[in-house]
Symmetry: C2
Subunit: 233 residues, 2 copies
DNA sequence: CAGTGGTCTAGACCACAGG
DNA sequence: CTGTGGTCTAGACCACTGG
């Protein structure tokens, strides 16, 4: 049984993947415990643990103390998306980045915004609207609210040349956030700004960013028609 | 220096996060090496490694041999999406799942499909169109192509009661895939099936699944207006 | 070439939860 | 209560890569 072929966790993982894939270990099946696998593979239990833990993180295995390790019966596809700064996205594709500030105002937001950001309905927020361009063509429309009580330094920024998207990521820390992807129909105003037909289907990212229970910023990004967000599984 | 507070990798990670967050280690900064941190925290280097590796995987740190570990200067937001079986998605929200097969045929696909799936232009594929419902309301429209040379058992499935979405995940292994999210305008046909206005903005998932360089299936999922895909950061 | 992260090992103790 | 995964340790060697 002592198989000298598996000397590192990657090779162990590869072999485990092979067995799952070949249905030697079918979905839902209990696989041998770490100690047994370590003996079979001729390596330390730590190494087996590393391989299996990694597979569990990607959703292929289901591990529970005492219950052991099972092949996931419904293999969830876990996609990892990297949401970068818009400028970086554009430049990575070799296009020229452009930026235009449309509006900047400090106002009391609609109830829907103050509620989502958990601020008093009477509190003033900084409202920014801006357009991102790729090779001089409209790329994305940014509509953002910033909590200037939490980020007072934002009040001094004009955001005329640096987008709020970029400035915030570089200057303001956050602890966690929520993000939602959806599709929205372009309003007349939006379609004019993005230079597309009215009612075009726009890929949309809504994002709410928190710093320890205080909302930092809420942003809605509307991408020009045709935009895709891609990743591998 | 020997601080007895940090006994496990989670607490080490938490402290590192605190320092990043408090800008004690600003973006781009080189942080102490593992051995030094281990001494400071009073734990083994392995434990520090575990904490830092995990942060690097989530994009907060940038690690390179010899060069050391740096705080990411452009913290990429890395969102993890779980793409489950549609039925599971609906039932998890306490709704009743429904399924209707619209069309099932074995035909030679359009060039765009055969090219994407890297099959001969003359090869017949299984084409499935189906509707998923939540509480009897249209939820998503599935348009799928299956490579019956790779999955011959699919040719014997009627897909009248079990969706291809679910059947494939349970019966057909795959090694990797590509996924893309976008927004599309509903065609007249689509809008009738989904019972929504024509030209509605539909959230779209395109997915191509491979088994070792052979395409298994290509699917386009069009979700009814209002659908959101959510996750946390 | 030398410093850094990447990994392996053997052994140990612990936390959790199934039976 | 007991088996399983989760983790820590100390020490070691290795792989990569910056200077």
């Amino acid at each position: 049984m002592n198989n000298p072929t598996f000397r590192n966790w990657q090779s162990v993982q590869k072999e485990v993947l092979r067995r799952i894939h070949a249905r030697e270990w079918p979905p839902g099946e209990l696989i041998p415990n770490e100690a047994d696998l370590a003996q079979e593979f001729g390596c330390a239990r730590t190494t087996v643990n590393r391989a299996l833990r990694s597979l569990a993180e990607s959703g292929l295995l289901d591990r529970r103390r005492k219950a052991g390790t099972r092949v996931a019966s419904q293999p969830v596809a876990r996609a990892t998306l990297d949401i970068a700064i818009i400028r970086a996205d554009i430049e990575d594709r070799g296009q020229k980045y452009g930026y235009q500030l449309i509006e900047r105002e400090e106002v009391i937001p609609p109830i829907s915004i103050s509620a989502a950001m958990a601020v008093e309905t009477t509190q003033t927020l900084l409202h920014i609207r801006a357009l991102h361009l790729a090779d001089d063509v409209p790329y994305a429309l940014e509509d953002r609210w910033i909590n200037i009580q939490i980020v007072p330094s934002a009040a001094a920024e004009s955001f005329k040349t640096v987008s709020a998207n970029e400035w915030l990521l570089a200057h303001v820390p956050y602890t966690h956030g929520e993000i939602a992807f959806s599709a929205n129909s372009a309003t007349q105003n939006q379609s004019m700004t993005l230079n597309c037909p009215e009612h075009s289907a726009l890929f949309t990212i809504d994002r709410l960013t928190w710093d320890n229970d205080a909302a930092v910023t809420k942003v809605c990004l509307l991408f020009a028609p045709g935009h895709q967000l891609r990743t591998v599984l």
